[in-house]
């Protein structure tokens, strides 16, 4: 949501794992994805299927995500369907890039870290949300 001012309002569709988060921030027409992490294979599979269905249906031109697993799925599916993709690695990944971020790299048109000391070729630092 801290990124919202960067997004062109009339062409944006949000997907989240928590409906009440969208309500709190006044976002309407949000799409819900099941929350999941890599320790819960069954839920991860549900999140993957939901992400494929959603991105297939929406056919976004650009996918922007800060992760984690459901966002990673959307980014990969989006890229395979021809979208340009932006991965913003979690600000929690301050000592090394996150695992989901590492998996996102081959599918990310732009890959940003939020920590200057983690900057490297292919891992751009262009500021941080916090």
């Amino acid at each position: 949501m801290l990124l919202r001012p960067a997004l062109p309002g009339d062409h944006v569709i949000f997907a989240t794992t928590n409906h009440e988060l969208a309500m709190r921030d006044g976002v309407v027409g949000v799409h819900l994805l099941p929350d999941a992490n890599r320790d819960e294979p069954r839920r991860a599979l549900a999140a993957l299927l939901a992400s494929v269905r959603l991105v297939w249906r929406l056919r976004p031109h650009v996918v922007v995500t800060t992760g984690a697993l459901p966002g990673l799925f959307c980014l990969i599916v989006g890229r395979l369907l021809g979208a340009r993709t932006v991965w913003i690695d979690s600000i929690a990944a301050s000592d090394r890039p996150s695992l989901s971020g590492a998996l996102a790299r081959p599918f990310a048109t732009r890959w940003y870290t939020q920590w200057q000391h983690l900057q490297s070729p292919g891992r751009a630092y262009e500021g941080a949300l916090l």
Partner: protein, 169 residues
């Protein structure tokens, strides 16, 4: 009111127990969001899960926040200018998959309004100490910079795709 929170993803009973021990010595009410932990506090009001809307209301009401080093809480504390005491989860104690919360604490230590504790003694010293509210932040140049970078990229793609697009966040 002092707000204690461990987030929604994982239990953090070591921290909840410490705060429950400290609660009687504090001159304010303590409310704890205890997540998936099994320990039930006896000296503070507690609730396992608090929805985001109610959580933001609690943040508005509290005098300070004592929290695991989770980004959601850090963002909210910054937004509402509340003193924040961070107590990182440790990978070695299976409190998280790895020690990234230690890294978060190292990286954020010293920022306005953010205080860090690594054990019960440090937590006890901080939680009862006078902690002024951080000054309002008029601008966050690094945040604006990342927004500009993302907006610029989307703008480029927009022109290429001829205006009709949608994005996911």
């Amino acid at each position: 009111m002092i707000l204690v929170t461990v987030g929604t993803q994982l239990p953090f009973d070591r921290f909840v127990r410490i705060m429950d021990r400290l609660a009687p010595s504090l001159d304010e009410d303590v409310f704890a969001q205890t997540g998936r932990g099994s320990y039930r506090p006896v000296h503070m009001r507690a609730q396992q899960v608090v929805g985001p809307i109610e959580f933001e209301r609690l943040i508005e009401q509290c005098s300070r926040i004592v929290s695991h080093a989770g980004i959601g809480t850090i963002v909210m504390a910054q937004k509402h200018r509340k003193p924040l005491i961070l107590f990182p989860r440790l990978g070695a104690l299976d409190e998280h998959r790895n020690d990234h919360q230690l890294a978060t604490v190292r990286a954020l230590r010293g920022r306005p309004g953010i205080h860090c504790a690594n054990d019960e003694a440090e937590l006890a010293a901080l939680v009862g100490a006078p902690l002024p509210a951080p000054e309002p932040i008029s601008d966050l140049p690094e945040r604006d910079r990342l927004r500009r970078a993302v907006a610029g990229f989307i703008g480029e793609q927009h022109r290429l795709f001829d205006a009709k697009g949608s994005r996911l966040v």
